[in-house]
Amino acid sequence: MADKVIIAEKLTKRFGDFTAVDAISFEVNRGEIFGFLGANGAGKTTAMRMLSGLSMPTSGKATVAGFDVYRENEKIKRNIGYMSQKFSLYEDLTVRENIRFYAGIYGKSSSFIREKTNSVLQELHLTGEADKLVRSLPLGWKQKLAFSVAIFHEPRLVFLDEPTGGVDPVTRREFWNLIYEAAASGITVFVTTHYMDEAEYCNRVSIMVDGRIDALDTPGGLKRSFNAVSMDEVFLKLARKAVRTAD
């Protein structure tokens, strides 16, 4: 189905005797904001690496943006964006150079890069800072810039790995506005987070415990079925069952 951006069926990754990801199955729809939660060591990162074509699954099936993770990971790479908690910008390059570099490695044409750079800079109110080194920007701006860079090449899906780590609540709220805009424009957002208030912003949330997906629903649905008042409570009820300790 064209509207499913991610389809995972019994996706598994084993490292020797250790099963990092244990037969997870889920689907993510186009334009959805999908929260991928779990304690440290629950297997979130491994799952994300398999879906982004960095790591081969041991067994199971998955397609990302309609491409098979085993055979077509080069095509997957063209259609996804990625941002990690480290923001991944070069501090010693200017804002414009960072954008040009990342757009360049996706093979975008110069005219596309030029036009889109201007509109992105305007959107972020960074036009005046375009030729300043990223080093001189405040953390919140770097983070927003990193997100814009991650979706600059107009991917169908963007992976955000704890994108708001270490950022203050106001900036986090602003950052989520950018995520909503991206989702509204049709980009699917796959996000991991440790902040339970952010889980509330997602359309649907999955919670991983010990390599398995133990719960998957809308935030409202999860709260109802776990008889909890907040996502925090849902998470604690589930995470307490974990046998594995954080890595």
Partner: protein, 368 residues
């Protein structure tokens, strides 16, 4: 290709914006060649000597003037008591004291036998050794000249000729060594550090998720260092020819070609280190201890490999700089061609293939 170029461009931005990197890349080679060429030579020139002449006659006078006439020695002072010997050595300026006993000329004339004592400051044994050798040579020379006049039936003279480096210039030895060191420093250490930095910053992850092939990424990072190395090769060769007067006796083209080969080996080593190291410190440590130290110690540039015990001699064979050092010495100083260094060249080429293959394999494993 466009991806590749935008990558290389970005890499140059990194280099040109970091003063420290620029310094290591471009200023250090020049500084090293000048320091090694001028300051750290093991030649002895104009060493200060003191003379205690208890005889003061025609023979001692001409010996002293011969010593002084040579460019190795400079008469600092005359002394008159044994106590002064200790005092001037303690002061440290005088490295050698020449003592003529009383009746030197008389002994020489009547008994055909006279004694000179040379006392050297052996706190630096190499210098002491060199100085006493020079001084004895000058004295022997003098002795031979006067015995010739007296029709002695047999006179054995030892004649020495220093091939390729008649003046025993230290620079002849240091230039090839410094070339190996600089190329290794720039290519191995800087490349390893810059790649590991991307891992540390998390930018490597983003690039791995991009459509760019992993090995292309590291190759693109290596290209600027390759280009800068060519600048270094050129500046070292120019400096050594025009400032240190080291001739380039062999083919310049061959020399540059071999240097390029060695640069590639160093780059491959840098890639290999970066594929294993997780932090910049680790990368630097491995480069310094694993590459730099063996290059200085085992390449033959500081200490002759032939004099090492067998285990060290065996280990020295896996140090790429050893082979490069042999090549540069042969081509640059002795002026020989490829026909004498093809074996060393082959060894370097083999190392290149081996290290590059290993690095490529490591990068692939990381992704599985």
């Amino acid at each position: 290709m466009k991806q590749f170029l935008s990558f290389v461009k970005k890499e140059f931005h990194h280099i040109f914006r970091d003063v420290r990197t620029m310094f290591i890349l471009l200023a250090m080679p020049v500084a090293q060649i000048i320091i090694f060429g001028f300051a750290l030579t093991n030649e002895v020139k104009n060493s200060k000597i003191a003379v205690w002449d208890q005889s003061v006659d025609a023979a001692t006078a001409s010996l002293v003037s011969e010593l002084e006439a040579s460019r190795y020695f400079e008469l600092e002072q005359a002394i008159h008591t044994p106590g002064e010997i200790e005092t001037i050595f303690k002061k440290g300026e005088v490295k050698l004291v020449v003592i003529f006993p009383p009746h030197f000329n008389e002994d020489l004339q009547h008994f055909n036998k006279a004694q000179v004592q040379l006392i050297a400051d052996a706190s630096d044994p190499n210098v002491a050794n060199t100085l006493t050798n020079y001084a004895s040579a000058i004295i022997l020379d003098y002795q031979n000249r006067i015995t010739q006049n007296r029709k002695m039936p047999y006179t054995i003279t030892t004649e020495m000729r220093m091939l390729y480096n008649p003046e025993l210039k230290g620079a002849y030895n240091f230039v090839p060594g410094v070339m190996a060191m600089v190329l290794l420093l720039v290519c191995t250490m800087m490349t390893a550090i810059t790649i590991v930095r991307e891992k540390e910053m998390g930018t490597m992850e983003v690039m791995l998720v991009s459509p760019m092939k992993p090995f292309r990424i590291v190759l693109a990072k290596a290209v600027p260092y390759l280009l800068l190395s060519s600048v270094n090769i050129a500046s070292i060769l120019l400096l050594s020819k025009y400032v240190l007067d080291v001739p380039i006796n062999g083919s310049l083209l061959l020399l540059i070609g071999e240097s390029f080969l060695f640069t590639l080996v160093s780059l491959a080593l840098g890639l290999l280190i970066s594929s294993g190291a997780e932090s910049q410190q680790t990368a630097m440590f491995i480069s310094l201890v694993g590459m730099f130290l063996p290059t200085v110690m085992l390449s033959g540039f500081m200490f002759p490999v032939e004099n090492m015990p067998l285990p060290l001699r065996t280990v020295s064979n896996i140090v790429p700089a050893k082979w490069y050092y042999i090549i540069v010495k042969s081509v640059m100083i002795k002026g020989t061609g490829l026909h004498t260094v093809w074996k060393e060249t082959l060894v370097l080429a083999g190392m290149l293939v081996f290290f590059l293959g290993l690095a490529m394999r490591n990068f692939k494993i990381r992704l599985a």
